[in-house]
Symmetry: C3
Subunit: 141 residues, 3 copies
């Protein structure tokens, strides 16, 4: 058994979903680990991770619009508003989705389903550099 | 340390929650691993996993009805509608719940609380065969 | 590779978010494991875990108020009401958040971002003793 880790830098340009499947797959392939699990972890509280439909981008657009309505920016009772009207909704959208995703590995590849992709879900309007830690644990090749 | 994995096939017959605790427990018991963690991962974007109250089935029915209202099928702004009115809501309900659950193991058993069960949460109306990957990582017996 | 586990007891006094980052960090530090992942798992279905903004407590208050409105107690169609009006909402709030969090470890420390804290999210009004299992898997020091 062995463990391997690498940090990814993801540049975001406003609210939306950003595909990271290929970047995570490369870390798994280069890890020297054949069989086990990979943990993808984002080090922020105003963006999050999701596994989502990867083929039709309208599905992601609909998801983003749904979240804009589920957690609107103009909630009158929010007190934590000093960092802008998109800040408190960003924390709530993060809590409603995921900070980590754990995916099984076999034969140096993630065992994702056909339609599954991994996405960083950016909840802030301004551009950001986001840090994602990819940790592989399992049996070496 | 060792790793062990098995794929489960779960047959669903419409929207609802389907218990998989016993099937996962059997994989853990047969894994030869005594102490560590088990990762349960579903390879689909229109169903998901939850840990939920396992005793009173009305709790699960209430949960299902709540989700039917939180993510209704008749959202007027959805564009991703080619696969039916239950398709886009299924992706959103998946994102709002979980694609993987990670549970600690001790003495070849999951350390679930008394009322915790693992369920596959089916979000599509049609019957489906769903694939769940169970991966155990830890110290051998 | 090695695995290490410890159970934490968390006392809650009503609905709210309770910081557990320091308690989890101590288990990691004492585990003898330098590099890998830690899984934090709560053994209950009426409270949950979140990673949340740890600096400004108004962000947590806003989050709690948001959840009070997203999953209100007076939903007319709930059937599972025998344990009180806060019981069924507690299960739904748990499903909408997380039962486990998985965090990468390097050099005997969790690789949390600057603003990330781990919190137990209590959804019941009465005082409770909650049990959290912390399991570390990785390479020994």
């Amino acid at each position: 058994m062995a463990a391997h880790s690498k940090a990814l830098q993801i540049t975001t340009n406003g609210k939306g979903t950003y595909p990271i499947t290929q970047a995570v797959a490369a870390v798994v392939r280069d890890s020297g680990i054949s069989f086990g699990t990979v943990t993808v972890f984002v080090q922020h509280t105003s963006c999050s991770l999701i596994i989502m439909e990867n083929a039709d981008s309208t599905a992601r657009h609909d998801l983003e619009r749904y979240f804009d309505r589920l957690v609107p920016e103009d909630v009158p009772y929010f007190q934590h508003t000093s960092e802008g009207s998109d800040d408190m909704p960003s924390h709530i959208r993060m809590v409603l989705t995921r900070t980590s995703e754990v995916i099984p590995i076999n034969d140096r590849s993630m065992q994702l389903g056909t339609w599954q992709g991994i996405f960083l879900f950016e909840h802030r309007r301004a551009a950001h550099r986001r840090r994602v830690i990819v940790t592989v644990v399992g049996e070496p090749v």
